[in-house]
C-alpha cells in the first residue's frame, strides 16, 4: 500500500532526457492542447437550445414519455394500456417508457433538460413547474386544444399557465383525504374522527387497544419534495398559508398551530415514527395502521388486490382540521421538452390524450385522481373506491402546495421550512421560534 513515493522513486529510476524528446514533447503538448479545447467545448456548451419538429405523426416515430408511474405496480400496466390506444391509431408510433423513481424525478429531469436532452413528453409535479417555466424549459402549448376542450378544463389546469401562456396540460389532480382501517377502529371502539383532537385520541386508542400504529404520515427530509405536499394538509388544514401572495407568512399563528398539532401527533407512541411512505403504506396494506392522511390515488394502490385490507374495509373523509376541509392537492402536468426532436409527434400525442377517448383512457389510469377535463367517471371505477366520495366533495376547497407568488422559489422555501419543522419534531424546538427563524431565512433567501 505504499504508493505515494513517486518523486523519490523517480529520482532513482532510469530515464533519458534529450533534445529529441523535448521536440516530441512540444508536439505532444500541441496535440493535447487541441484535445483539451475540444473536450472543454463539449463540457461547456452541450446545450443546443431548440429541438426540432421531427417526423409528422402519420410518418411514425418514437416518443419518449417520462414518468414515475411506469414503476408503480398496477398503475404502470394501466398507463401502458392507455397509451397503446394511441399507438393503435398511429401505427408507426412507438411510446418509449422512461421510468424514473419519484424521489429522483426532479433532479433527473433537470440534469437531462439542462444538458439539452431528456424525454419528449414528461410528467411535471406542481411544485416543480414554476422552476421549469422560469428557465424556459417548457414548450408553449397555446392553441393546442380546441375551444370545446378548453371549456371543459378543470380549474387546476390554470396552475400550469404563466403570464397567459399554457406551458403544460393538467394530467391529474389528486385530492388528499383522511382514511382509516374500519376493522381496527371497530376493535378499538372509536368512531371516525371529526377534529384534530378526535384524530389524536383515535390514533392513541387504536395503538393502546390493538398494539398497531395509530396514525401514519410523512415526516422525514429524505422524502423532501413529497413531504412538503403532504405537510401542506396540516398547514392549510389549520387555516395557514406560506404567503399572502406578496409576502411570506411562514410564522403566522395558524402555521404555528399546525406545527404544534403535528408535533403532538409525532410525539405520540401511536405515530409511525421513522417509516417512509412505502413502509407505512405497506403496513397499512398489511392491516397494521389505523389512520392515515394520504392521497386518494395512493390509497387505491394500497387496497388494490388486497385480501387483508380490501377496499370495502377502508373508510375515508375530508381532512377534519379546523379550517373545515381546507387541504392540499397534488396536481401533475404534462409538458413537452423544448429540446424534443419530436415536437410534432409530442403535440399529436397530447392532443389525443385530451380527446374524449384519451381522457376516458387516462381516467382508468388516474382514478381516483381526476384527469384534465371534467368527465363522467365510469360507475365500475367508482365502485372500486367507495371511500372516495367525501374526499372528492372537499376538493374545491383544496389548494396547491406551491407558495403563492413565490413559484420558482418554492424548492428553497421548502428546504428552509422543512428544516425548521424537522427541528421542531426531532430537537423539540419551539414551533413559534422555529417558524420565526424560517421566516427570516426565507425572506433573506428570496430577496
Amino acid at each position: 500500500m505504499r504508493r505515494f513515493r513517486e518523486r523519490d522513486a523517480g529520482r532513482r529510476g532510469p530515464g533519458v532526457k534529450g533534445a529529441g524528446l523535448r521536440g516530441a514533447r512540444r508536439r505532444t503538448a500541441g496535440a493535447l492542447a487541441v484535445g483539451v479545447l475540444l473536450a472543454v467545448a463539449a463540457v461547456g456548451c452541450a446545450n443546443p437550445r431548440g429541438g426540432a419538429e421531427g417526423p409528422k405523426p402519420e410518418q411514425g416515430g418514437t416518443l419518449t414519455f417520462a414518468s414515475w408511474h411506469w414503476l408503480e405496480s398496477g398503475r404502470g400496466e394501466l398507463l401502458q394500456a392507455a397509451v397503446s390506444k394511441y399507438t393503435a391509431r398511429r401505427p408507426g408510433v412507438t411510446i418509449r417508457k422512461q421510468a424514473v423513481t419519484r424521489a429522483e424525478y426532479e433532479k433527473t429531469m433537470s440534469t437531462q433538460i439542462g444538458a439539452g436532452r431528456g424525454p419528449d413528453v414528461f410528467i411535471i409535479p406542481d411544485t416543480y413547474f414554476p422552476e421549469l417555466a422560469e428557465a424556459d424549459a417548457l414548450e408553449p402549448l397555446d392553441g393546442l386544444l380546441d375551444p370545446a376542450t378548453e371549456a371543459r378544463l378543470l380549474p387546476a389546469a390554470s396552475d400550469f399557465v404563466v403570464g397567459g401562456k399554457r406551458l403544460a396540460l393538467l394530467s391529474e389532480q389528486s385530492p388528499y383525504g383522511l382514511f382509516w382501517n374500519k376493522k381496527l377502529l371497530d376493535q378499538a371502539g372509536v368512531t371516525p374522527p371529526k377534529s384534530f383532537d378526535e384524530l389524536f385520541t383515535a390514533a392513541e386508542t387504536v395503538h393502546k387497544r390493538t398494539g398497531k400504529i395509530g396514525f401514519a404520515g410523512r415526516h422525514q427530509m429524505n422524502e423532501e419534495p413529497i413531504w412538503w405536499s403532504d405537510h401542506a394538509n396540516w398547514t392549510y388544514g389549520f387555516g395557514g398559508r406560506w404567503s399572502d401572495g406578496e409576502r411570506l407568512t411562514i410564522n403566522s399563528p395558524q402555521n404555528v398551530a399546525a406545527e404544534t398539532a403535528f408535533k403532538k401527533m409525532y410525539d405520540s407512541p401511536a405515530f409511525s415514527l421513522g417509516d417512509d411512505a412505502s413502509t407505512y403504506r405497506s403496513k397499512f396494506a398489511a392491516g397494521q395502521v389505523g389512520l392515515i392522511i394520504d392521497c386518494a390515488t395512493c390509497m387505491r394502490t394500497m387496497v388494490n388486490d388486497n385480501k387483508v385490507v380490501p377496499t370495502g374495509s377502508v373508510g375515508g373523509s375530508a381532512i377534519p382540521f379546523p379550517s373545515g376541509g381546507g387541504s392540499a392537492y397534488v396536481a401533475l402536468g404534462l409538458g413537452i421538452n423544448p429540446h424534443s426532436r419530436n415536437k410534432a409527434l409530442a403535440r399529436d400525442f397530447l392532443k389525443w390524450l385530451y380527446s374524449p377517448e384519451g381522457q376516458q383512457a387516462l381516467q382508468r389510469v388516474n382514478h381516483p385522481s381526476t384527469v384534465g377535463t371534467d368527465i363522467e367517471v365510469p360507475a365500475d371505477l367508482l365502485a372500486t373506491t367507495p371511500w372516495v366520495k367525501p374526499v372528492y366533495d372537499a376538493l374545491p376547497k383544496a389548494r396547491k402546495p406551491v407558495v403563492d407568488g413565490f413559484g420558482s422559489d418554492t424548492p428553497r422555501i421548502r428546504r428552509i421550512v422543512l428544516s425548521q419543522v424537522e427541528r421542531i419534531l426531532t430537537r423539540d424546538a419551539d414551533p413559534e421560534t422555529a417558524l420565526d427563524q424560517a421566516q427570516r431565512e426565507a425572506v433573506e433567501e428570496t430577496r
Partner: protein, 309 residues
Amino acid sequence: MKTRRPPTKSRGGRVITWAPYAFAAAAAGYLLVFTAIPLLRGVQLGFTDTRLLNPVGGEGTGLHNYSKLLADSAFWSSVWTTLVYTAGTVAGSLFLGTGAALLVNRAFAGRTLARVLLTLPWAVPTVAAALLFRWIYNDQTGVANSATRALGIGAQGWLTDPSVGMIAVLGATIWKVTPLVMLVVLAALQSIPDELYESTRIDGADALSAFRAVAWPALLPTLRVVALLMTIWSFRRFEVIWLLTGGGPADATNTLVINVYRTAFSDSRLGMAAAIGVLGLVLSLAVTVVYFVAERRSERTELRAGGAA
C-alpha cells in the same frame, strides 16, 4: 524498510524514450478527459450563479458564493459533521480492522472461515447494505431496537433522532469498510518474517511486547497510508449516507458531499453546490498535505535514528 527495495531502478540499461509516454498515455488521457476537465468546469461553476436547469446560462458572481458560505453557520455545521463522520469512520475501521487482522493472523481451527466471515461485508453492494440497515434500524420493527430493548437500553430512534443518527450511519459505514482495512493490515502482517517473532520469543518477551517490538513498527507505515485513504474516502462518501438518511435526521448527517448533492439537485443551485464541493476538496487536500509533511518529517527522524544506531 527502504533498504529492502530491489536495486532495480538504478540499473536501467538501455531505455527507449517513448515507452513510458506510450504506457502512461492511456491513463493520462483518461484522467484528462473524464476527471480533470469536468473538475475544471466544476470549479468554474463555483464562481457563478448557475442553475441546474440551465447549466451554461449562469452569470459570473465572483466570490459571492464563497463569501456567503463562509458566513453561513449551516455550512460550518456541515463541515463539522464531515469531520465527525470522518474521524469516527477512520478511528472505528482502523481499530476494528487492525484488531480483526491480529486475531486471524495466526493459525487456529476454523481460521479460514472466520476470515471469510470477517471480510464478507466488503462484498455487499452499497445499495443493498443501505436497504438492509434501514430495515435493521427501523423504529418499530428493526432488530437494532429489539437488541437495545433486550439489553435494557430501550428503543432508539436510529434514523429519526438527531443525537443518534450519526452513530447509526457510522455503524453501517464501519461495518462496510472495515474488511478492507483488515485485508490490508493482514497483508502487511504476513509480510513480517517469522524469524523476527522467533527472535523476540527467544528473548523471552510476552505477546504484548513482541507486538510492540515487531509488528507495530512494521504495521505503522501501512496504517498511516490506510488512515489517509480512509480519511479522503470518508470525505467524499455519498451513497451509504444518502440512501440511509439523506443527510437527516435534522441535518445530523449532512456531510459536505450530501450538502453538495442537495444544493445541486434538490435546490437546483449548481453554482453554490460547486462552491461547497470545492471547499470540501480544499479540506481533503489540506489533510493530504498535512499527511505528506508529517510523513517526510517522521522519515527524516527515522533516518537520523537509523544513522545514530
